[in-house]
């Protein structure tokens, strides 16, 4: 596939690998940023239609230039650092939110060949990087020197730590079913002659639900957005942020949404595999599945009221964690019998 690159490879010698990897990173990050921009538009449009409104339609045809206008507006704004704030951490916090969200993409396979780093411990890496995202929020809340921001960050930290456990157990069942930590191998494990009946969302259905809902909670999206809670603590952890620093939080949140959608598709919905045996597999299937999962995120936001904080904790600790613990045992026993068909 890449024969035409060989002369360049020879010319650059040992510098080839870093340059090639950097190129791959750019090829992933730039479209991702574009996707984030247009996801914001899609969100406003979809929620608008669900609420029988039109949504943004002034900037460009069909509102298509709206994300660019928003981005430009945020770029031009002044970044205000509150008095008494810890300046260094205040600026570092948004970066700390965005970076883990981008770092995970290194192990995400788009199809059978397209992946930056085909590492064996991919699933563990995903979990570790996902758990780092909370630092940005905590530090932002603390460094702002503001009560609302601090409350938001405390809530968010407690929420993320709680839902991470259920999320981890959901991934353990995937790991048991596929017997691999490599994300590419997890997709290959769902390959079979029956199309979508071979995917893991059938034997692991409770875990599929738990993972996706925990994913919504981890990304602080409605109905789990108590970290922001506009109606109670104004905007939570990012209340003091403006301009590009605020935009970075925004980018991080949407990049995380896209990431959770990709991971859900890879681990439960067969990744790039075709749902019916007579159609070829391909990257388009992956994008189609991601689009469906992303639509669920938007649908949730338009439909559900925000959880009360105690309900949120109850759902995480008293419902999801017991269910996932039981399902780990169920899958373990099931796999020892001859009824395990996956």
């Amino acid at each position: 596939m890449m024969e035409w690159l060989e002369p360049i490879q020879k010319m650059l010698g040992s510098a080839w690998l870093p340059i090639w990897t950097l190129l791959k990173i750019v090829v992933i990050v730039l479209p991702l940023m574009g996707a984030v921009a247009y996801l914001t538009l899609a969100e406003r449009k979809v929620i608008g239609w669900m609420q029988i409104r039109i949504g943004p339609n002034r900037v460009g045809y069909f509102g298509l230039l709206q994300p660019l206008a928003d981005g430009l507006k945020l770029l031009m704004k002044e970044i205000i650092v509150p008095s008494g704030a810890n300046k260094f951490l205040f600026i570092v916090a948004p970066i700390l939110t965005l970076m883990p969200a981008l770092a995970v993409w290194a192990v995400v396979p788009f199809n059978a060949e397209l992946v930056v780093a085909n590492v064996n411990a991919g699933l563990l890496y995903v979990l570790a990087m996902a758990s780092l995202g909370v630092y940005g929020i905590i530090i932002a809340g603390w460094a702002s020197n503001s009560k609302y921001a601090f409350l938001g960050s405390l809530r968010s930290a407690a929420q993320i730590v709680s839902y991470e456990i259920a999320m981890g157990f959901a991934l353990v069942t995937v790991l048991m079913a596929s017997q691999s930590l490599n994300l590419g191998d997890i997709v290959r494990g769902q390959h079979g002659t029956h199309g979508l009946l071979n995917w893991y969302f059938i034997p692991l259905f409770p875990m599929f639900v738990v993972y996706f809902i925990s994913g919504v909670a981890e990304t602080n999206r409605a109905p789990f957005d108590v970290a922001e809670g506009e109606s109670e603590i104004v905007a939570g952890f990012h209340v003091e942020y403006s301009g590009m620093a605020f935009a970075l939080f925004f980018l991080g949140e949407y990049a995380n949404m896209i990431l959770v959608s990709f991971l859900t598709s890879i681990m439960f919905l067969g990744g790039w595999l075709s749902p019916v045996p007579f159609l070829p597999d391909g990257i388009l299937w992956m994008f189609a599945k991601v689009a469906v999962v992303l639509f669920l995120f938007l649908w949730f936001r338009a439909t559900f009221p925000r959880y009360r904080y105690d309900q949120l904790m109850r759902l995480g600790w008293k419902v999801f964690i017991p269910v996932s613990l039981i399902w780990v045992v169920v899958v373990g026993v099931w796999m020892q019998t001859s009824y395990w068909l996956w």
Partner: protein
């Protein structure tokens, strides 16, 4: 110096600097963040030794969970640094002797030719999976110690919860199952009434 060595020294210097930062940082939150950096760079060194399971678990457990809760607590505490630093110079010689002793021990053990020759990192084949090998060992050869350790941890956890559990009277809390079970009939009473007729006669 090869690329490998350069990466090693980078991580090693970062780890040492971060560890020093933990001690000398004036602000406890900064100290906790320095500790996070130290963990991350230590994970990098483990990764160089192809111990990817340990490296990622270090980040996942210590950075992702333990330090988050630690930061959580440190941020809410009102720590008086002046009081903490009291008596620093009085205890300094004592600490310095212990530190010197530890450095001497490490140099003695790690610097001896026998150990440094025999304990080189093993180079593995490309398809070697550290996670798989560790799992195999833990669940076959070391299964009893491993399960025992797990039970000890469980007991510790239960004990910690039991110690802090206080039943206070007069606490107001939501009974969720009652809330869910509520029917329309419990809250709402529909009263049939005749419509008022216009006052007749009188």
């Amino acid at each position: 110096m090869s690329f490998f060595d350069a990466v090693f020294y980078l991580f090693a210097i970062l780890t040492t600097l971060a560890a020093t930062g933990v001690i000398i940082a004036r602000n406890p939150v900064h100290a906790a963040l320095f500790l996070v950096l130290a963990f991350c760079s230590a994970a990098g060194i483990w990764m160089l030794l192809e111990a990817e399971f340990l490296a990622i678990t270090l980040v996942l457990v210590y950075v992702g969970a333990v330090m988050v809760l630690f930061l959580f607590v440190v941020m809410m505490l009102d720590i008086n640094l002046v009081k903490l630093k009291e008596g620093f110079w009085r205890w300094f010689p004592f600490g310095a002797v212990i530190a010197g002793l530890m450095v001497f021990e490490m140099v003695w053990v790690l610097g001896s030719r026998q150990i440094s020759e025999s304990s080189r990192a093993v180079v593995h084949a490309a398809n070697y999976s550290n996670t798989k090998e560790l799992g195999k060992l833990i669940y076959t050869q070391y299964v009893y110690p491993f399960e025992l350790a797990a039970v000890v941890l469980l007991v510790a956890m239960v004990a910690a919860i039991a110690l802090t559990l206080r039943r206070r009277s007069g606490v107001k809390s939501q009974n969720v199952s009652e809330q869910v079970k509520v029917k329309k009939a419990d809250r709402l009473r529909i009263v049939k009434m005749h419509s008022e007729s216009r006052a007749e006669g009188k």
